[in-house]
């Protein structure tokens, strides 16, 4: 099929709903075999991008190709080739587990015998074969999510798109799901996912973008982004009640990069020296290794997003 060139390519991609601009001219590409992350707070434009590249939402402007196909003009072909795992459960409650997969395969015109065999193998992949005759409403949240992944595999897609695959799952289910996604990646499946969990992005993604308000803020490998935008260490300073002003003044006099998070001030880099400088001030000081969450919060701010 499309062995050369990117699996997904977005150029000056725009999505508008009426007068509201959800995606404001973004550029990114996803290479074959890669796991690519779309990160950003609510309303950043992640879901709009997912919907466009899944062929269910037309592109407003710019260019978006998936497996070399135009995501708007050739949406049917795109949908035929890729696998999509939506955020919310939309398994068919009228059918049992295996039948859900077989009915899905039929929409793709996959012959019945092939569909049956694929359903069993896909259930093996997500460790649900022994539940093949269960009603879907008897499955746990984690099982449902795994079943949705199995369903997305039925058309043997070279690209799997997952919208917040582990939201709402317990740690055991989440880790099992990560293992499954790693295994699929090893088999050559390209993965694009959105997530709110920085640990998940760091675990799974080779490359990622952090978005906000329809724009891409940064793009890169998780560890590079941490190094570049948060440094090695972060110092969290919590002034004691009544001592906010002097502590803050003291920090700004040190000339370090800090971010005000309400009750806590975050300082990136130069941790060893800073801990000495803050000795004696009326504040609790915690020193820790910088992570992706620091990058995220530093770039997108700490205000609540309630959209």
């Amino acid at each position: 099929m499309n062995d050369i060139g990117p699996i997904i390519s977005a150029q000056s991609l725009v999505k508008r709903y009426g007068t509201m601009t959800a995606v404001n001219s973004v550029d990114f590409h996803v290479n074959p075999g890669e796991c690519f992350g779309l990160l950003g707070p609510n309303g950043a434009g992640k879901s709009s991008i997912i919907r466009m590249l899944s062929g269910v939402s037309p592109v407003t402007a710019g260019r978006l190709t998936v497996l070399g196909l135009d995501a708007s003009a050739q949406s049917r072909e795109v949908k035929w080739r890729i696998g999509v795992v939506p955020q919310e459960d939309n398994l068919d409650p009228d059918f049992r587990v295996r039948k859900n997969l077989e009915v899905h395969a039929r929409y793709f015109g996959i012959p019945r015998a092939v569909a049956r065999e694929r359903a069993l193998q896909a259930l093996d992949v997500v460790q649900l074969r022994d539940r093949q005759e269960s009603r879907v409403d008897t499955l746990s949240g984690g099982m449902k999510r795994r079943l949705m992944i199995a369903r997305a595999l039925m058309n043997d897609p070279p690209l799997l798109v997952l919208d917040e695959p582990t939201t709402g799952l317990d740690p055991q289910s989440r880790h099992l799901l990560w293992d499954k996604l790693h295994a699929l990646k090893r088999q050559g499946v390209t993965i694009l996912l959105t997530t709110h969990y920085m640990e998940e992005a760091a675990q799974l993604c080779d490359r990622m973008v952090i978005m906000d308000h329809g724009h891409i803020l940064v793009e890169g490998r998780p560890n590079e982004l941490v190094k570049k935008h948060a440094g090695d260490e972060v110092v969290e300073i919590r002034p004691r009640p009544g001592h906010h002003e002097p502590v803050r003044d003291h920090i700004s006099s040190l000339g370090v990069e800090s971010q005000d998070g309400g009750d806590t001030v975050y300082v990136y880099a130069a941790a060893g020296q800073l801990a000495n400088d803050l000795a004696g001030t009326e504040a609790d000081v915690t020193r820790r290794t910088a992570n992706l969450e620091d990058v995220f919060l530093r770039l997108t701010g700490r205000e609540l997003r309630d959209e």
Partner: protein, 272 residues
Amino acid sequence: MSSIFTGIAATQGVGSPSSPLGLALVMRVWLRHRDAFLRVWHTEATGILGEPVFALAAFGAGLGFYLKTIEGVEYSSFVAPGLVAGYAMFGATFETTFGAYMRMMNHRTFESILATPITIRELVLGEIVWGATRAALSAGGMLAIAAAYGFVSEPTAALMFPFAFLIGLAFASISLTVVSLVPAMSTLNTYFTLFIAPMFFLSGTFFPIDNLPTFFKGYAQVLPLTHGTRVIRGFATGDFSADMIWATLILLAYIAVFAPLAIILMRRRIVK
């Protein structure tokens, strides 16, 4: 590109994204509904065959005992085809109002289907054809019980069955248009109160509409069930008239207007 499957399952390039005229894709949606129906066939069959037993006992044998003939036939033979047409309407309408709304909003089945090569057009047409299938099943159940009671005996009565499918296409098209517009499931009740229920009472199901007050008579003339009933009753008595052709054309006009409208409005509702 390697496959994640092995053996027969790994067959590359199986299936096809589209088909000539998209008819096969419409049928894939229809097959989903058929399978869901067959999974609970025993409950469905109880409804399809059980209700006519009581409805025909009440109106045919019960009420029919007190009434003499209407338009030259016994009341039981008059009302039976009326109920066949009425049940065709209900069969299609329940499936494509509450059923379709549940699939669209509560179960997100539309969303999952639209993530596959199926588009809105084929999804809506699949719903309409399935609604018509339900109409034929409901009408067929009524027809079978009416025949068992001896209320219909003309061989032409068998034609009611395919015609009920046509009535179903009309009502399913109208229902899906309504579903594409309603803000909540409860709004569908209004559709039943203002359109479906009056239609059942005013479309010549239980008595000829010729002697209704002028307003209601005029209203009845625009209701699709009036025309469905006229043709179904013609098949029951074997009295074919030019009226039946007109009535058929009017039903076809309903389909021609509302099926495309349902597709357009559903696309507007779903594709953002």
